[in-house]
Symmetry: C2
Subunit: 218 residues, 2 copies
DNA sequence: TGTACATCAGTGAACGCGCGTTCACTGATGTAC
DNA sequence: TGTACATCAGTGAACGCGCGTTCACTGATGTAC
């Protein structure tokens, strides 16, 4: 009964931290938000977590590994967000595909630091972190599967789903990047504005700019 | 006649460098290609340019200003590439708009270091560099003008061109980012593969995924 | 054409700094008996 | 329930390093006369 004693949640109520690993990734996100991915240092993260600068080495072999953990977490969380979005979208394959894209953008904008680490150039060699690569692949797979479903339903022309996934992924990825970088000004409330932009973009890619905003036809 | 004596091009044929400013931005690009934007240091750039580490301060007030110069140069070059692409596309406004997008992607993929600096988070506050902001705006303006032309020709529905520009910019920006980060594998030769992807993506945004790859109808 | 002089673009030494990483250590935890 | 002991997760001092930036300087350049 005393075996799975709950880890202490209060900060430093004992010699041991309790959940330093998580505290470090939180601190990293805070630092990245303020100074960009290159502005994150192990020492400052340790400081913010209230431990010595050597303590992180009990949880991560080095600085890059912590960043990789943040990126991996981002992909996993994004995948969950996307699955939730799909669930809300109902049964229509096309609607589900669109929801996937919208959720992608919304996650990125809500978690810009994660997004920057996930797709920034800070982690040079992602293959060095197999779990990170796997998390990224699993997220991308959602897109491929959804396209597959649309094809099966005859809503999208046949062809390799990976191929069709590229334009779709591009548009949501690009929109996310532009918004996160502040290149696309947003109306307030921001959340709603982002979703509107994402819906517009995914509709455009699906139905074509030529038609999407057409005046109600005669 | 001796007034505009040509700058010496040979490396260090005299005490003065000749074109240190340019040598520094070249070195910066090389460093960024190898180590990412955060891996660029003034001292290493100076070393590669064959001057002392203090020499760069004759041309740039600090490290960030050199990066900003690289980004500005990138926007200017990209704009030129895009204009060239448009020229080749002929008179049809829709074809010209598409060519603009394709040129955007091709430039990014051909100059990944420029692209990373232009849109990375390394230069935190772009407003601090008015010339950079102006160069970026001028590039974006090409897109807006091309959309305007399409609208005037009735090829795209009415509406604020800036609004329509966002999905289009998103898709080319996203594709560029994914390719530059190696997320989209490319067949060889790379140049042709990139262009094919860009054509596919811009066609998709224009005509809609629903239709674009449809089997030859009945 | 020659000379004096201002300006420019480098040099090289020095500054303080914070970083990543290592190490021997110690206090806390949890488990076997 | 109590005790001995292995393991775990911290500490704090120390390492070497390269960085950005400043400064007084000097050699090179170009211009006025």
């Amino acid at each position: 009964m005393t075996r799975a004693r709950p880890r202490p949640l209060r900060r430093r109520d004992s010699y041991h931290h309790g959940d330093l690993r998580r505290a470090l990734t939180r601190a990293a996100l805070r630092l990245i938000a303020r100074h960009g991915p290159s502005g994150f240092t192990l020492r400052e993260a340790a400081r913010q977590a209230g431990v010595t600068h050597a303590a992180p080495y009990r949880h991560f072999p080095n600085r890059m590994a912590l960043l990789a953990a943040v990126a991996e977490e981002g992909f996993a969380e994004m995948r969950v967000s996307m699955l939730a979005g799909v669930d809300r979208a109902g049964a229509d394959p096309a609607a589900r595909l669109q929801a996937l894209g919208v959720a992608y953008v919304c996650y990125a904008v809500a978690h810009p630091s994660h997004f920057r680490v996930m797709f920034g150039s800070e982690i040079a060699d992602k293959c060095a972190y197999p779990e990170l690569a796997a998390a990224a692949a699993a997220t991308f797979q959602l897109l491929v599967d959804a396209i597959d479903a649309c094809q099966a339903a005859g809503q999208i022309p046949k062809g390799p789903p990976e191929d069709l996934a590229v334009p779709l992924w591009s548009i949501v990825h690009g929109l996310a990047g532009l918004v996160v970088d502040g290149q696309v000004p947003l109306a307030t409330p921001k959340g709603a504005a982002v979703e509107a932009r994402a819906v517009q973009a995914t509709t455009a890619i699906f139905d074509g700019l030529r038609f999407v905003q057409r005046e109600p036809a005669m």
